[in-house]
Symmetry: D2
Subunit: 383 residues, 4 copies
């Protein structure tokens, strides 16, 4: 009988959103067991939260530093920590656990700023630690299938990547209400240099690079905070230049009424195009030049092994956000086991984003902000 | 800290489809723990299957009768058994566990035929046992919201219920290949009197009654086995008469190319209409008469508490088939705890189908078959 | 330089709906010239209506009988009359013009009842006259393309034809307002035995036969007048049996809130399926069994000459209802010229419905009504 | 009885695309009569083309200069000329007719370059002539309705305008085939400084300003010719700054496989958003902040008089590209009659684009090109 990976969680206490998502994702394929947590910096709240989700009181910590130290010493200590705090805590928490030799699964963006991201990368290199970043949209089967189509040349030489991520929940001054999610996401000290950029722009950026198998080399941006009194951007318009002379546009917004979580990507090449939308994730439109558009459906006719490996249900039985997220968790489980054995990680498990993608995300945010400050001058991401 | 419900499973071994679905559904909200199984009638296969999914070898049984007897005697015996065998085994397995005082969660249809369904109902009454039927499509948040709209009179007096469930996977003689799912589903000794009728028609029928809060009183049907040599129907056309003088049509098919799992329902009343499709379950179209159609989205603007109670993610983060199924499991968990305490089951937990719906499903199948045999004579379901 | 066909119109005066549609359709390809009319039985209204649309006062008639007689005698008399009156006038008007040797284009249904349709067929045969019926939905390019796919065997042996036509404009007692369209359509003396059946059911029936190239042999029906006090049906549920053992369902309704003019057809065979919706007429979904669904678009990749012949604009420049209607007019122009020369009508012009389709439509209406009166007994259309 | 407006056409002979579109559009509402033409610079072709479409041989001219002179002198001379030549001929032809006092309807863009556009504006002012530009997408009923929603404040203070126009027909080197449309559109001497920019970018730009009732003040652009050897752009990415601090993005492309004629616009304000797509022109999505999205349909519930005035058919009977185009023609007819009488043009007829919009379009093209040449520097349109 296989044994489950024991994990602990930092953040994700009462009233949090993403913590519960991670926990469900970890459960879906039954590969993980939640055994410890520092769910809140408030000791009482941490304890209450731990009890509510079945963590033994003894392994509920008020301090992540203590948690890292104690868990490291336990025989049945956690194999991996999941970090689901606001952005500013990602770096110190990740550092603490990596320094103790404990693997890390971290929500995006990797850190509060690029300097931290570089420092984190150095720590990972130095410690030989295991670090994965939950850019969860890479977990959708049809996203991986689309990437494969691109890599196999089904679109010909690429020309264009159009990506957008639109929401509407910050159309008003939500941060002045008691909405905790809005509060920290609009606060530079907790969120970093980007508002919508950090929260959702990094997802769009990651998806664009992942699906196209290209690298953004330069950005030219115009960003705004439309809601009066808001400090961080709530909308960003970004022209993209990729390697291989591919061009693109990235738009992210949290002030676009009628959009719930509208992440959408379109890629065009000399021989074909494709289109995928996160809100309808079980369908991919593939248009070979000169032929009718094909509706490819998850687990349907023509879908590849790479995509089917991460599907659970037959075509027409919709899988969604949680299943896509769960695919990251399950792949990370396999990768972690191999990592711990010192064995090589096979290609299909290398799809999971790590610190490289984390650094790139922060480069993106800071380059966009810089470009916008300089009246949309092109800024290189490799500078 | 809460304790999980301990469950065992009958059926669902290697190569099965629905067993894994139930296991994931049971895990999503972390309310269940799988501790025993009679996963196959073949002892070796049962053991292998049990090991693969983490059931202790001691609690892997080759016989469901033995399992019922042994589990009953254990202090840590299962609280509930989940039955995911082909249809012909539903009744004997349910009976065996109910007779031992063990609660039952059963895949649909309830039994092989109506006579068994009545007998099962009698057993439940006699034993005071707990029995729930996984007509999982009732678990979708927007299905429950739609039912609420109907009940609140937002559609006015109902007039029409149009339901259809189309698939294409049996368009060829799939049962002559090594497709196990096709084999038993087209075999009357395992599937019952209905082919597509039993497999998916019962879901459509259940959904129509659930969402409209009406009862089908009569059916007038024309059913076919289009694939040569097939014994059971692979397509059924059914005119419906409901109580309250509502009319409807039910179409189910497994020979409609281009349809993966296309369960769709539309309800019309004097003041409005609504439309929902299982393949796009996060959206409900609501059309108040004389006003523009509104796209209601799961967890979105205007959605009720009843629906939001069974949502896990914000609007735009698609939930799907597994989450809908999980809603049944979580509600059943709550209901079972209350049942075991002898406490009343609140209204929101009474939405889960049970033996009453099971009997109705078999009445539907047998009435449709009878009507079709009699050149589409109207047949009463209450006869 | 080509000369235009001179036509007159009976019906279609002030406040009418369909007359203007016919006039636009006749103009689009510039093949017709409107020169005469008996636009209303009320002489003043006829004159005003004629003036408003540019008919010379001398050729505005208060009586269609007079119009037929006078136009016949003029050297520049009309080549064809277009009948756009309520149904009960179709027969007498068509008869009057045919008896004068003048060609007829008639709105559907052909006549008020089946007896008249048979009589009209006899008149056409006797006079050798020219008669075409504007089942305009057969004019859409993709409808013709779909018929071709069927005929070429791209769907394999057919099994199912599902057709529906839903509207909502009669959900309330509209005929009690000053809505003229509602008044005559709900009045048996003007509309015939069918309400929604005659108005839109005949279109659905015609489209089902046209696209499938099959003939409905039997119907089993349950029809209703849901709105209190309404005499004719406003909803019809009809099981269909076609020749070649194909089965189907036809649903038409004028009490389905949220539906404007939702005519939709799906055809399934052993090798594929297709789906077309009138409200989105520039797209046809084609699903070869075992392959992804293809979105075929009007004038797009893979579309045939038969369909492209009746397209005017490139793909992506939507054509609609009026262009589809115009295709009938232009094909009728060509056919009429050949008819007048005594030359054979080529296959592509024989797609236009005529009296045969007119008789079939009335057979359908009366058979459905009879079936419904006999508690949904199957009724043969060939009886 | 009303008299029709007599028009002549320059360009639009055999093999042309847009000439026939204009002629159909002019016919749909029966307000125009085509009586003269200089359909080609080749005299034989001009004559053949004229005969084919019913222009009297005497009024078929090989020279537009001659046509302008002769028609001016005729008692029954044309009221207006329609210019449907390649772009480089727009200015000389428009000038010739305006100088003769003849009204002009001109396809977009107004001229080959901005200098000509300014010169043309001066000519119009000097002559007091009548000039209208067929940015036909402004003719769609729901486009006008959307503009009204914006003007009425239903979206609140505007923040964002996202517009895109994607095609795929130039994905390969189509200009090297015998495709005339491709040849001149990719030739700077006939098309001007913009390729996709002039052909479709100007439409997108015009629509963005029209629907938002805003003015673009600055552009920041990155344009490309992806197909090897192509001189003019086939793709353009443009950041937009409007007056009132509104921001936007414009993307136009003729190398995006799977896109036929995908013009799409989205506008977002503090209180709501809207979305309209040219390929599905009978539907407008309107999302009031905090409420479900509403599907507004042409001629449907809630649509205004402004939009209904330019609808011909009931909701659900799709109108398309030709009807939208016809709306311009009919409004121009009314405006021309008033202009000729010296009477004021009412507001609803002032929606039709004229030389002001023509100048703006050329400013847009040349500013985008300049910005792109200067590595995406912001360029003011008012410079």
């Amino acid at each position: 009988m296989y044994s489950k990976i024991k994990y602990g969680m930092v953040g994700g206490g009462e009233g949090a959103f993403i913590g519960d998502i991670h926990r469900i994702a970890a459960r879906i394929d039954n590969r993980y067991e939640l055994v410890a947590g520092a769910l809140s910096a408030d000791a009482d709240k941490a304890a209450r939260s731990a009890q509510a989700i079945g963590i033994d009181a003894q392994r509920s910590y008020a301090s992540f530093v203590e948690m890292a130290a104690v868990e490291k010493e336990r025989d049945d200590g956690i194999d991996v920590v999941v970090i689901v705090t606001p952005n500013h805590m990602h770096f110190p928490v990740a550092k603490a656990f990596l320094e103790q030799g404990i693997a890390v699964i971290c929500d995006k963006p990797a850190t509060l700023n690029l300097a931290q991201a570089h420092e984190l990368a150095a720590i990972i290199t130095r410690t030989g630690g295991f670090f994965r970043l939950t850019h969860n949209y890479t977990g959708y089967p049809l996203v991986r299938y689309a990437r494969e189509l691109v890599q196999e040349g089904k679109l010909g030489e690429l020309r264009l990547v159009q990506v957008e991520y639109a929401q509407d929940w910050l159309s008003s001054k939500e941060e002045d209400t008691d909405n905790k999610q809005a509060k920290w996401r609009t606060d530079p000290s907790k969120s970093g240099a980007g508002g919508s950029l950090g929260d959702i722009g990094t997802h769009a950026f990651n998806l664009a690079q992942f699906m196209s198998d290209l690298t953004v080399s330069e950005v030219c941006a115009d960003i705004d905070a439309f809601v009066e009194g808001r400090v961080l951007d709530d909308n960003a318009h970004v022209l993209l230049r990729f390697n291989k002379e591919v061009k693109g546009i990235l738009w992210c917004s949290q002030v676009a009424p009628g959009n719930a979580n509208a992440l959408k990507i379109r890629i065009y090449g000399a021989k074909g195009g494709l289109e995928w939308s996160q809100e309808d994730p079980n369908e991919l439109l593939f248009s070979p030049l000169g032929e009718p558009t094909q509706k490819m459906i998850r687990a349907g006719h023509g879908i590849s092994d790479v995509a089917n490996r991460v599907s659970r249900t037959p075509a027409g039985h919709p899988e969604g956000y949680l299943e896509g997220f769960a695919n990251l968790y399950s792949d990370i489980a396999d990768a972690l086991i191999l990592h711990n054995k010192g064995e090589p990680i096979p290609a299909e498990l290398q799809l999971i984003p790590g610190i490289k993608e984390g650094v790139a995300g922060l480069q993106f945010v800071e380059s966009v902000v810089e470009s916008s400050k300089n009246n949309s001058q092109w800024v290189s991401l490799n500078a």
